[in-house]
Amino acid sequence: MLQIDAQDKAKLIDPLFRAGIRFWVAVALLLAVIGWGGYMYVRQLIYGLSQTGMQRPAYWGVYMVNFIFFIGISHAGTLISAILRVTGAEWRRPITRVAEAITVFALVVGTLQIIFDMGRPDRVLFVFFYGRLQSPLLWDAISVTAYLLGSVTYLYLPLIPDLAILRDNCPPTAPRWRKGLYSLLSLGWRGNRTQWVRLEKAIAVLAVIIIPVAVSVHTIISWILATTVQPGWHSTIFGPYFVVGAIFSGIGALFMAMTIVRRLMRLENYITTRQYRNLGLLFIAMTAIWFYFTYAEHLTLAAGQQTAEFPVLASKLWGQFAPGFWLMVLLMGVAFWVLVIPPLLPRRAGRLVLFNPRLAVGSGVAAVILFAVMNYSRNLPLTAALSQPGIRLTGWVLVGLALLGVGLGGAFWLKDRLVTATVIAAVCVVVGMWLERWNIVVPTMTHPRLIPFWFYRPTLTEISLTAASVALFILLFLLFFKLFPAVSIWEVAEGRVIDEARSRVKIPAPTPVGAVSRPKHWGFEEGQQ
C-alpha cells in the first residue's frame, strides 16, 4: 500500500474519478468534429484525392503542412523533458507528464496526416515490406516509428509508480475496470529499492537515447524536402532550421497545454510561475534562434537571385503568399515582444502615458482600420505631396507605429501577468509555426521549374480533416488526463524531499547588508543605493 500526500490526493487523484457535465460536453463536441472529419475522409477514399485542392504542380498541400507541424509539436515533450531530466533541472517535475503526453498524441495525429495524404492508404505497409533505404521517406518511417515507440515507453515508465499510487488510492466508488487497468498497468510496483533503482536507471538511459532520435526525426522530415532539387528547398540549412522550429513550436504547445491543465484542475500550487519563467527563458532563446535561421535562409535566396528560386522568395515577400509570410513574421515578433519587453520595463515607467493600456486599445483599433483601408481601397486619397507608392509606404509605416503603440500600451499590463503573456506568446508561436510550414511547402510547390506557376487553395475536405486532427489531438489529451494524473505525483514528491533537504543545509552567507556600515567615498551619501 503506497501512501500519498493528502493534498496530492485531493488535487491530482480525486478529479480523475469525477467527470462533470463540462467534460462530457467537451468530449461530445470533439467527437462531433472528428465524426465530420471521418465522413469527409470516407468521401475522399471513395472519390480519391480529387476532393482536395491539390493538383499539378502542388502535389503536396495542407496534409503535408499538418504532418510537419504535428511532428514538430511532438518535440515538446520528449525532447524538452529529456533534456531537462538529463541536465537535472529541478523545476521540470510538474510539467514532464504533460510534455510527454503531447509528444505521443502529436506523433499519432502527425502520422495520420501521411495516411490522409496517400493515394493508396491500403498499401501503407508496403513501406515496411518493400522499403528502399535510399528514400528519405523510408528514413522518415523508421525514425518516426522509433520516436513513437521511444516516447510511448518514455511516457509509460515514469507513469508506473503513479499507476501503483492510483491502484492503492482509488476511491471505493471507482469502477472496477479502472481498478483493474491500474493494477494491470502498474506491473506489480511496490516501490521497493530494487524497483526504484531499475526504474531510475531505465528512465536515465531512455532520456539520453531519445534526444538523438528526436533530433533525427525532424531533420529527416526536412530532408524529405531538401533532398529534392525543388527551388527553395534544396538547402543545407533545412535540417537545423526544422529542428529549431520543432522545439520552438513544441514549447509553445507545452505552454498552452500546461496552462489549460493548470486552469481546469486548479494546479496553481504545482505548476507555478517558476515553470513559466524558466521555460520562458528557453522560449525567448528559441525565438531569437528562429529569427536568425529564417533570416539566413531567406537572405541567401534573395542574394542569389537564381531564376527558379527567386520567384519563390518573391511570392512570399510581395506576391500571393505575402499575407501568410508577413503574418508569420508579425506573430513571431509579437511573441518575442510579449516575452521580453514587459519584464524589462522598470516599475516606475507605469506612470508614463505611453504604457497606458488604453493606448493599446486605441492604437489597436487604429491599426485595424488603417489596415482595412489599405487593403480594401484601390485608390487611396491622393494629395499633391504624396504619390501612390508614397502614400502606401506612409500607410504601412502608420500601421507599424500603431502596432508599436499596442505593444507599448499592453506591455505594462502584461508585466504583472506572466501566465497571460506567456500564453499569448505560445498561441502566436504555434500559429506562426503552422504558417511557417505552409510558407515552406506551398510556395515552392506552386513555383515549379519548366511549367507555369499555379496556385493552391485547400478545399473543405482538407480543412475538415485538419479540424478533425486538432480535435482528435485534444480529445486524446482530455481522455488521457481523465485516466492518469496530469502531474507526475512521485516526481513532485521527490522534488519536495530534495527541497526540504536543501533547506536544512547551512549556506555560509554574509550578514545582511543593512547591518554593515557603508564606507563613505566618491561623494556618495550614506545609504544612497
Binding site: G48, L49, S50, R56, Y59, G119, R123, M445, P448, L450
Partner: protein
C-alpha cells in the same frame, strides 16, 4: 545492351500536338473533362509546353514537346520509398502500378513534371471507351497511383515477341513509340543511343543538340535539336 533514347528536332516541330493525342490513344490516359482540366489535373504523358519570351511586339513563342526524359540518373527513382518506380536494364523509367502507394514524392522530385497522379478513378466518355487500347500492359491505372510516359514499353514487348516468332534477333529499329510514329513533321527520332551508328546517337552528338535542365545532373535520354 540497348539504351533507348529520343531526339526531337524543334525546327521541324510545329506544335500540332498529335504526339499528345497519339500517346493518349496508345496508353489509355483518361479524359479529364473541362472541370478537372481547369484544375490542372489532366494526364498528358506527352505534353507540348509553350514558352513565351519577350514583350509585345517582340515576342517569341517556343514549343517544347516533353515526354518523360528517362534520365540515366532519375531523381524520381531515388526518392521512391517502395521501389514502385524503377529504371529497367534498357534505361527506361517505369512505374509499378501495383506497388505505388501514392505518396507523390516522385512527382515532387521530378524537375521536368513528367509524372502524373490519378486524382480520381479514370473516366472516358462512352464513345471513347470502345476504342481503348486492349493491351493489358496499358490497362487503365487505378485512382491514387502515379503514372508517366514509358516510351511505349508495350510496343517494345510486342516487337520482341514478333521477332521471336519470326526466329530472328530483336533489332532496336523494330519498334518506335506512338508519338514518334505519328509525328506530323517527322520531328522525332527514336533508337539506341549506345549504337554509334544509329540515327539518334548521331543526332545527339549534333552541335544543335541540348537536353532540358542538364544542370540538374539527371542525365536525360531525350535530346532536343535547337531551333533556328
Amino acid at each position: 545492351m540497348t539504351r533507348w533514347g529520343m531526339v526531337i528536332d524543334l525546327d521541324k516541330c510545329f506544335a500540332c500536338q498529335s504526339c499528345t493525342a497519339a500517346c493518349r490513344m496508345e496508353n489509355n490516359t483518361p479524359v479529364a473533362g473541362p472541370d478537372q482540366a481547369e484544375r490542372e489535373r489532366t494526364i498528358l504523358w506527352n505534353e507540348v509546353l509553350p514558352f513565351e519570351e519577350g514583350e509585345y511586339p517582340n515576342v517569341t513563342l517556343t514549343f517544347i514537346p516533353r515526354p518523360c526524359q528517362h534520365c540515366d540518373n532519375p531523381p524520381c527513382v531515388k526518392v521512391c520509398p517502395v521501389q514502385a518506380t524503377y529504371i529497367d536494364e534498357e534505361g527506361i523509367v517505369l512505374v509499378d502500378y501495383n506497388r505505388c502507394i501514392g505518396c507523390r514524392f516522385c512527382t515532387v522530385a521530378c524537375p521536368y513534371q513528367v509524372r502524373y497522379f490519378n486524382w480520381y478513378a479514370p473516366e472516358w466518355p462512352e464513345e471513347l471507351k470502345e476504342h481503348l487500347n486492349p493491351d493489358p500492359e496499358v490497362a487503365p491505372r487505378p485512382k491514387g497511383v502515379v503514372e508517366k510516359c514509358t516510351f511505349c514499353v508495350q510496343r517494345r514487348r510486342k516487337a520482341r515477341e514478333q521477332a521471336e516468332a519470326e526466329g530472328r534477333p530483336f533489332n532496336p529499329t523494330d519498334f518506335i513509340p506512338a508519338c514518334v510514329q505519328t509525328c506530323t513533321g517527322k520531328a522525332r527520332y527514336f533508337g539506341d543511343l549506345d549504337d554509334p551508328n544509329s540515327l539518334v546517337a548521331k543526332l545527339a552528338k549534333s552541335p544543335r543538340a541540348f537536353r532540358l535542365q542538364e544542370e540538374m545532373g539527371t542525365e536525360p535520354k531525350v535530346y532536343y535539336l535547337k531551333q533556328g
